[in-house]
Symmetry: C2
Subunit: 487 residues, 2 copies
């Protein structure tokens, strides 16, 4: 039985093997998985994943109307999608009440978390974490529900306040949340205030306390020594008025859209870089594999991260323009693709963060999640090495408590095939004929005005990047000139 | 229902409230627990703990013979106690075979872990962790069993090797383990070798990478850059020949002893300090509370840690002599107390380590675990503060995956009552009349030859400590003199 399941799992995975190659780095790595899981008395990736796949396949063979009736392909964590926007009829009263509460000023990133929590991306979380939730997240990457089951919760979703604010709150049970522009946008009720041990939070979340972690330096280090948890009530849906709000679909809206399209499988692709043809190859190949598995209408959720990113990442507006070109050029099929913004800030916390990225997509209705090499990883801030083992993200994700119902699709490395003159799945048997173009290298091409090899990215998408880096240099030069003038 | 359970739980806990006080720091802290758990949509300490208590109470009311038939009060993790000692009949062949295997040299602490694993303290772990177990331990503090349930596993139980040893192992599937004295004592089979990222291991285990962590400096920093996992086979039970081996009962031996004594409850007390009358008060009080709860024969497992401890802790042999005096003097009742050595090394990793301390005692048959303030904690190595929040150990333990079947007994702080001239549970209403004597302060008393207040510790036990510190000073002085002579 276990063997049967295993073999069926293998056949599922080996679909990813290049037709014209003996083996690939990916399938090698899977066989490594098995060699380790065979010995492991505890974990069985297969038993966790397969039932979901089987179930999906069988359900996919039923009528598409039945799909629609289901209203979603996968239940939100906790069984019910959390939504914390105050009903229209109560807004007036709630706002008036909040005026009387002690005020907590939010940073830009706090606001992104308010957005995330209010729309249910973190379901079943109903507000910023209280200490018992914080401790479970920090130590177990999961929260226990009253029925004894676990939901995944790998990142502490917390709100920091300083000593002065704590003083002002005193013994109040509720506080008002004030956005950076100065308006009260939400309240936090039945609050709990507890110590913010930054060193421990950072060490347990990133696995290092090295200086130079972007989220830490931008957000945690300057933050207060206390954390405040409670139940969140948001007065209006969070908008950014940056011309991109129409891309910001909530989990509820996404689930509705998947049903409108009669999706019988939804595969999510998280990214924070421009889409090159390697990504496209992967996404199109994944859809083909899902069709081969018996699904009738797999929908791609192309889900760029929209919150805080480090300074040298390509800004959101540029990425969104680039993504739209990729769809206009038909590199991805608009009929079977939904492009939407994931409002979470980026931690660059590797294996810990990739769990959050996957968990949030469950709440948005995705039942397949594509995971690549070194997800949410970065170079070590002070040492010449990757901060995380590039394989750990995939492995941790596959074993994470609360993610059993999600199908994890590890993806094969795509690189530029210098013979075929196009992006293709890496074939180790002719490794020398492949050129690896990392996000960093891609950005360097665009910055220096050098063209990447033909077939790396659709020209219109590439022009978006080139224009961005040109504008960047112009602004740098003009600021230099201003500096000279003012000197 | 939830309220009913909650109230019964409260009544169970408030048994710990001093009769003559309005409230105590402990009951305050419990009420804090409830204020937080009331708000918490996920966790319910009560639902986790109470069924076990109810079940134990009801079973305790049945015949003691039925107790004996059960052969244990609580199942080992994984359902079966792991024992990895090779059967007598196979030892010859196994030893001969191991001679042909690549050799891995063990440190003193490695050997302590071989001891721990071989006797099943870490059940269901069958050897040093492979990478998937290591990653689950590091990220989730737990391991998933094939049936989908979790067992707690908060400390990575791993064996490090250096580049040269890895080279020598090459592609061998099995290795022989060589103890510090040079004998082959075990083999590790179907091995897996993976990277030892020390920084990440330390950060995720201790919540800090600060220099000065005893276990890290003694063991991890000097260790190799690779970890080797596999299935352990030990040729003979591990012995230390230090005159204390008779105290080292295996989980199997302890379970047998509990049954011989017809225990219907076993409460474990982990310590690495001499037993003072505050500890005794607590342990005797706990037994009384368990009798009040309906248990007929609660047995105390007084379980000092016997592995690696930091330099300024009192050595094991001195502690064992001190403990025996405490029993001789009748401060603890030998009839209802079992003194045994827990062979694990000490990490001083606070909330992460206390889970290990509790989990290992489940495997030894304890169904109640006493937890105090700041368990397995220490001062921050470089900052003037506790490394961990003193309440976090208790909270994390109460929420830890895989420990649901264990009854956690948070204990009240005992201090020296300067009015009653004895150790008593701290009464905040007359806080000024209490004197707190920490382990550090106790050691200072003994080192300086100053007597602690009457009633702090039984005189014969105290003399053991005084003698130890006298001998320490003598050896220090003689070594100074030698230094002078040789200078």
């Amino acid at each position: 039985m276990s063997l049967l399941i295993r073999s069926s799992y293998v056949s599922h995975l080996t679909l990813y093997q290049p037709r014209n190659s003996k083996s690939s780095s990916f399938t090698n790595q899977i066989s490594f998985f098995f060699s380790s899981f065979n010995h492991n008395p505890f974990v069985n990736l297969v038993n966790k994943r397969n039932p979901t796949i089987m179930q999906s396949v069988s359900s996919s063979s039923s009528s598409s109307s039945k799909m629609a009736v289901k209203s979603s392909l996968i239940d939100p964590d906790g069984g019910e999608l959390v939504e914390l926007i105050v009903p229209e009829s109560e807004i007036g009263a709630k706002k008036a009440e909040s005026e009387t509460m002690p005020k907590v000023k939010l940073t830009k990133i706090d606001l992104e978390w308010v957005h995330v929590i209010s729309e249910g991306w973190a379901s079943p979380l109903k507000g910023f974490m209280r200490e018992d939730e914080y401790l479970q997240s920090l130590h177990f990457n999961s929260l226990r529900l009253q029925n004894g089951t676990f939901v995944n919760m790998s990142l502490p979703i917390v709100l920091a306040i300083d000593d002065e604010t704590k003083e002002q709150i005193g013994s109040s049970q509720n506080v008002a949340l004030v956005c950076p522009q100065g308006d009260i946008i939400a309240s936090l009720r039945s609050i709990e205030i507890y110590k913010h041990n930054k060193e421990e939070r950072i060490a347990r979340t990133w696995g290092t306390t090295s200086p130079g972690l972007p989220y830490v330096e931008e957000y945690i280090t300057p933050s207060g020594n206390w954390l405040i948890g409670g139940d969140l009530e948001v007065f209006e849906p969070i908008k950014y008025n940056d011309g991109l709000d129409h891309y910001r679909l909530s989990p509820k809206q996404l689930r509705k859209e998947f049903d409108n399209r009669q999706a019988d499988a939804v595969f999510a692709f998280q990214l924070r870089n421009p889409v090159h043809n390697g990504h496209a190859l992967l996404m199109n190949d994944t859809r083909k594999r899902l069709l081969d598995m018996g699904y009738k209408n797999p929908i791609l959720l192309l889900h760029p991260l929209g919150g805080f990113t480090k300074a040298d990442d390509v800004p959101l507006d540029v990425r969104m323009e680039q993504h739209s070109k990729v769809l206009e050029d038909g590199v991805l099929d608009p009929e079977t693709t939904i492009v939407s913004i994931f409002p979470s800030p980026m931690h660059y916390a590797g294996p810990t963060e990739v769990q959050w990225h996957a968990k949030a997509r469950i709440n948005a209705g995705a039942n397949f999640y594509i995971v690549g090499r070194d997800p949410a990883g970065m170079g070590h801030p002070t040492e010449k090495r990757d901060l995380y083992d590039p394989d750990h993200g995939k492995k941790v994700l596959s074993m994470a408590p609360g993610l059993e119902k999600l199908n994890i699709l590890p993806f094969r490395v795509a690189a530029y095939d210098t013979v075929e003159k196009k992006m293709a799945f890496f074939d180790p048997s002719r490794a020398k004929e492949f050129l690896f173009i990392s996000g960093t290298k891609m950005r360097t091409y665009a910055r220096t005005g050098e063209n990447p090899p033909d077939g790396f990215m659709c020209p219109s998408g590439w022009n978006v990047l080139v224009k961005y880096y040109e504008s960047l240099q112009e602004s740098e030069e003009s600021s230099k000139q201003q500096a000279v003038v003012s000197a």
